[in-house]
């Protein structure tokens, strides 16, 4: 966001040329009248001429990328050094993600689950960011980040169990599908009201910062629509003023349900807000897995070593409908969708890259697709057969310590069931 006229962007030496982060610490080259004001609220040069600044005063924030549409590395110095196993793991997880989306979406249509949201178009953001994080990092997600969870180790079984709300769901069947939770994989429970995860992520990062020898960062995913909520501004401002180790990663997929981003905000997207609030900021091509990887890897390094937040705006396109309750053809054209499924398909680009490196071919793809599909189908069949949570779950977890009144009800229910168990479908529920 360098001022077109004079200011220049300070390059952080920890960062490589192309992946430079934007910083607000611009140094005016010429100080008019040789005088710089020293107000508590602003240290800036004086000028003698009125000039309003607007979005056209700045160049658009550039979009960092590594791969072209054919999966070829554009500048070899930017190719990340990721080992072969990891690259293949990233791709396999993309395949798995696509198959889960396809089958779980269908299963909602068949009435087997009540709700679902797909991730098409954002696979690159998921795998690129997840691979650059450490397992101990804490993830705050919005809802459209299933790939991140898969990469971190949640199994197809964990995910399907959540969607079916059976007794093996970590959330005990208490939330709608896609509201995952995983303590072991450091995923904070997904919450429906938008953007609430953002200041909470900053709060968690603040807690980490206070831990001696902290080796954890927080990553917070959010949509460009959610970024309109007041919580988003609060999160940016606190992340900066509290100097927190947090990566705020915006998935700008162009839509919030039916609202296109051009109606969601004016100005240069979400990234433009970062430097304004004193946050190191980078905009990246979210359909380019390697670019996202580089961005998040460097952001992680920076935020961990310097306790400075980083804002990343990953540009992409929401290829699928918003959710199973939406039909997006009502507000966008099929041609528009096609453009993003064909030319800018993140999975395709990454696959071409792997093929060029000799790590992948059509045969392995075919068998991987089949394997990924089969495991989802099989897991779903199993999930449907699994029991529902124990009846006791109905009375648990409203408070950490069960109030006496509820304890009494629990006992009554226990006694009642001893006498009348044949009237209840207890065999459908998990038992002691």
């Amino acid at each position: 966001m360098a001022l077109k006229s004079s200011a220049c962007v300070l390059r952080l030496n920890t960062l490589r040329r192309a992946a430079r982060l934007l910083s607000t610490h611009t140094r005016p080259e010429t100080v008019q009248n040789g005088k710089t004001a020293d107000f508590p609220g602003a240290k800036a040069p004086y000028v003698n001429e009125i000039k309003f600044l607007n979005e056209n005063s700045y160049d658009p924030i550039p979009i960092y990328r590594v791969l072209d549409n054919n999966g070829e590395v554009i500048d070899n110095r930017e190719e990340p050094n990721i080992d072969k196993e990891t690259l293949v793991k990233m791709y396999k997880n993309m395949v798995q993600l696509n198959q889960m989306d396809k089958i779980l979406y269908e299963s909602q249509r068949q009435g087997r689950i009540s709700f679902y949201m797909t991730n098409y178009g954002e696979e690159g953001i998921h795998m690129g960011s997840a691979a650059a994080l450490a397992p101990q990092d804490l993830v705050f997600a919005q809802y459209r980040e299933l790939g991140v969870l898969l990469y971190r180790g949640l199994t197809v079984t964990d995910i399907v169990n959540q969607c079916f709300g059976n007794c093996e769901d970590a959330g005990q069947g208490r939330q709608m599908p896609v509201h995952y939770t995983s303590k072991p994989y450091n995923l904070v429970t997904i919450s429906s009201p938008l953007a609430t995860q953002m200041p909470q992520a900053v709060g968690a990062a603040y807690a980490f910062k206070r831990t001696p020898n902290n080796d954890r960062v927080v990553i917070c995913y959010f949509g460009e629509g959610a970024a309109s909520e007041g919580d988003a501004h609060a999160a940016f401002n606190f992340a900066a003023t509290l100097d927190c180790p947090v990566i705020l990663l915006c998935r700008n997929n162009g839509y919030a349900i039916s609202t296109p981003s051009r109606e969601q905000y004016r100005g240069d997207g979400i990234a433009a807000r970062g430097p304004a609030l004193g946050i190191n900021t980078l905009r990246v091509d979210g359909t380019d897995t390697l670019a996202v990887y580089n961005a998040v890897a460097q952001a992680r390094q920076l935020t961990l070593t310097e306790n400075k937040p980083v804002l990343i705006e990953a540009m992409s396109y929401r290829v699928g409908h918003h959710s199973t309750s939406d039909d997006s053809t009502a507000y966008r054209s099929v041609e528009e969708i096609e453009k993003w499924t064909k030319d800018e398909n993140p999975v395709q680009k990454f696959k071409l890259y792997l093929e060029r490196k000799g790590l992948w071919d059509a045969d392995s793809d075919k068998s991987q697709q089949k394997e990924a599909r089969d495991i989802v189908v099989k897991t779903m069949q199993e999930a449907e057969k699994k029991k529902r949570p124990h009846w006791r779950e109905m009375l648990e977890d409203v408070y950490c310590e069960m109030p006496p009144r509820i304890q009494k009800q629990m006992q009554q229910m226990e006694d009642h069931l001893k006498k009348y168990n044949e009237h209840y479908p207890l065999n459908q529920h998990q038992s002691d």
Partner: protein, 366 residues
Amino acid sequence: MALKSSPVVFGLLARLSRRSFSTSKALASKPVTVRDALNQAIDEEMEKDERVFVMGEEVAQYDGAYKVTRGLWKKYGDKRVIDTPITEIGFAGIAVGAAFGGLRPICEFMTFNFSMQAIDHIINSAAKTYYMSGGQIPVPIVFRGPNGAASGVGAQHSQCFGAWYSHCPGLKVVMPFSSEDHKGLMKASIRVNDPVVFLEDEILYGIPFPMSDEALSPDFVLPIGKAKVEREGKHITVVCAGRATDTALQAANELAGNGIECEVINLRSLRPLDFDAIARSVAKTHHLVTVEQGWPQSGIGAEICARVMESSTFFELDAPAWRVTGADVPMPYASSLEVLALPRPKDVTAAVAAVLGNKISEAASQ
């Protein structure tokens, strides 16, 4: 389910079926869904008054998340049907400011659950500015949207805000039941100079209710603060509002088969609360049960019981009053539990039986 006499039961109960909705015996000229009745009301008022406009998430081209504003954007355009960025606190504030500036906004929350993000504007600004400005600045806004539990949307999307908002002086709080209620009260809410919280129900949107010719006319307005006796009866008064009215009417139907005549009072508005209507009815029936979907503590039923205690109506009671409410838990996602966490007709019939049999203490001790 404050009624502890009906132990929490597992087992799938038939889902709220559309056909099971009891409709009033109004001169059935034409069945109109609640959604269409709301749409009609808003359309008519927009036509009548240039200052009225609608704003909210997805209300324009998309016709609203629940299609209540269908066709209005086509008819009135961007100037009067405004899609907002996703910020409830933002557009609630914009609505308040627009009202300060002389317009009459209708502010749609995709669901009232999201109004919590905006609650400061509603309570601290909309409800209090007329007072704080020494009566100079009225704030004519309708905050509307679906309230309470829908079906299968879990703890964060299934709460009733009736008691929350009706707690606050400066607000009017409306909770309609039938299509007629929705139409007449929406029009009144748009016309009134105070801020109104208009609590709809997603399940009711698709329900057709017969509407009289009078109700279909553009002049039809209902007074805010007047309850409606949905069914007359002499044995017990059942007070309810919104979708709980359906639960009460179903129970009343069933009880009538056993010779028990319930007087079902549809409050229509929670603030002002038509206590006179309740008092009149209790003076006749001497028994009282309240039905609501919200949680029991500090709820609507609690308010009604307190007003009974504080008035001579207390002496009319032959037995303690009883509340039937939503269960005192975050809403379970599991459909089998969800139906049990909301008042069912059978909870109402059990409550009525307990009150009429003066068996409250017995029921409560269980």
